[in-house]
């Protein structure tokens, strides 16, 4: 794999501290290997404030791993990054405080929702506010109810996650992440575990979140979402970004043959 990086993007070990400030996510030459297999090969990516950046590509391309490096659920082996103004370098052990700061700035929504099954929907949203933001019970409940209203689930506040649909669980998970007032939201294939109808209600909520000005990095197979809501489209293949740009343009006239193949396979 050649180490060519898109113009305007970083390459190598260059220090990125001195660069522009209106980027919420700046990844420079992020590398990650699992048991000798190189999953990410010096991936560099910048996401502007308020931008919705979609990452597409075949499975095994390293999309999810890249996303998980952003909030350090995976520790990158190489490279460095600035996330919401916080500088982080691979290969260093990060203090508990640094991780806490990072994760307060970065919200995440998982493919498998990961709501806490032994708590009601509202308690799922209240607990992190109480413990992370140190809100009062009263404040946390009020905010929780507001957010449930926002994702259209005000009537499910006292239900347990198992009693609501997958689409509803995912909307709760989005509300739970929003409750901590993140500066960026990561979505890891948020609709892949849902049938199309339920996926639509989740996408509608994501659209609303995007409209509110949230910076979003979204790994997805929903081409419609990437095209209409996304501001920027990144195509990954084999641990590297092979193409990126304005979604409409990349989708209708891809520069890379591999992108063309992938798109025609998904659009079939």
């Amino acid at each position: 794999m050649a180490e060519t990086v898109e113009p305007g993007h970083y390459s190598g070990k260059r220090d990125i501290r001195t660069n522009a400030v209106n980027y919420v996510i700046e990844l420079a030459a992020i590398e990650k290997a699992f048991a000798g297999h190189q999953v990410l090969k010096k991936v560099s990516l910048r996401v502007k404030e308020g931008e919705v950046c979609s990452i597409i590509g075949p499975s095994g391309a390293g999309k999810s791993t890249l996303l998980r490096c952003v909030n350090l659920l995976e520790q990158p082996d190489g490279g460095n990054m600035i996330i919401a103004g916080q500088y982080l370098e691979a290969g260093r052990s990060h203090s508990r405080r640094d991780l806490l700061t990072l994760r307060r700035n970065v919200g995440m929504v998982f493919q498998s929702f990961n709501l806490f099954p032994h708590m009601t929907v509202l308690d799922n949203i209240v607990l992190p506010q109480r413990r992370v933001l140190k809100c009062s019970e009263e404040q946390a409940r009020t905010r929780g109810k507001e957010l449930l209203e926002r994702v259209g689930l005000a009537d499910k506040a006292d239900a347990y996650p198992a009693k609501i649909s997958g689409g509803q669980q995912q909307r709760v998970a989005i509300a739970r992440a929003l409750a901590l007032d993140p500066k960026v939201m990561l979505f890891d294939e948020p609709t892949s575990a849902l049938d199309p109808e339920l996926a639509q209600e989740v996408l509608a909520v994501m659209k609303e979140v995007a409209a509110s000005g949230m910076t979003m990095l979204v790994v997805t197979h929903e081409m419609g979402f990437a095209r209409t809501i996304g501001d920027h489209l990144v195509v990954m293949e084999d641990g590297a970004i092979i193409e990126q740009g304005v979604p409409e343009q990349v989708m209708s006239d891809p520069a890379e043959e591999r992108t063309r193949k992938f798109l025609s396979a998904v659009n079939r």
Partner: protein, 212 residues
């Protein structure tokens, strides 16, 4: 009928040894479980060694070692203490494995969600992980506890005046004394069954509150 009362009088000792051993086992099993889950190979190996040591030696041998062996080192326990400690050590080995199984039953995504939300290790463990692990562990814990009620009879060999000790003494001293063991059997069942029912009740309550 006298045998019946004698056995009943011994029930508190059976329960004391059982509960004491379970408590000690529970407390010791917690650090063992964490060491066993360590990502550092030597720590993990040490925990596995301790667990195998605790479980691998028969309870009766532990009791002899503690009650008759430790006095050599000028450490003396009365029979009840020795019984509780010996069975407690064995319990720690088994319970550590039950705890480990319970934690393995908690979906990996739950740990990740805790991290992604920025919850502290303590909050994650006490509020999110352990309630779910406990639910998965409950059948195993109940089975082990019921087993321990019966295994506490082993403490009779070092002179703890629990049910079997009492029954044996009674049987030796009365002509048709062997029948007292039927009484003992009935009382053991009378103790085990309610605990089993209690555990099942707890399980279904937890099930109702948030089944997956």
């Amino acid at each position: 009928m006298q045998g019946f009362w004698a056995i009943l009088m011994a029930v508190p000792y059976t329960l004391l040894v059982t509960a004491g051993a379970f408590l000690i086992g529970f407390i010791l099993a917690i650090p063992l479980t964490f060491l066993r889950r360590s990502t550092m190979a030597p720590v993990k190996a040490l925990a596995m060694f301790i667990i195998d040591l605790f479980r691998g030696i028969p309870p009766i041998v532990w009791l002899f070692l503690i009650y008759f062996g430790l006095p050599v080192l000028k450490i003396r326990f009365n029979p009840i203490e020795a019984g509780i400690i010996g069975l407690g050590v064995v319990s720690a080995g088994y319970l550590a494995e039950i705890f480990r199984g319970g934690l393995l039953a908690v979906h990996r995504g739950q740990f990740e969600a805790c991290k992604a939300l920025g919850l502290s290790g303590w909050t994650s463990f006490t509020r999110v992980i352990s309630p779910q692990a406990l639910r998965a562990m409950l059948p195993g814990l109940a089975t082990y506890f019921i087993g321990l009620i019966k295994d506490s009879s082993i403490a009779s060999v070092i002179g703890v005046t629990e049910m079997v000790f009492t029954a044996t003494t009674y049987a030796r001293n009365s002509p048709e004394g062997i029948y007292v063991f039927f009484v003992a059997a009935a009382v053991y069942i009378g103790l085990s069954v309610p605990f089993g029912l209690m555990a099942r009740g707890m399980e279904s309550r937890l099930q109702a509150a948030g089944a997956r």
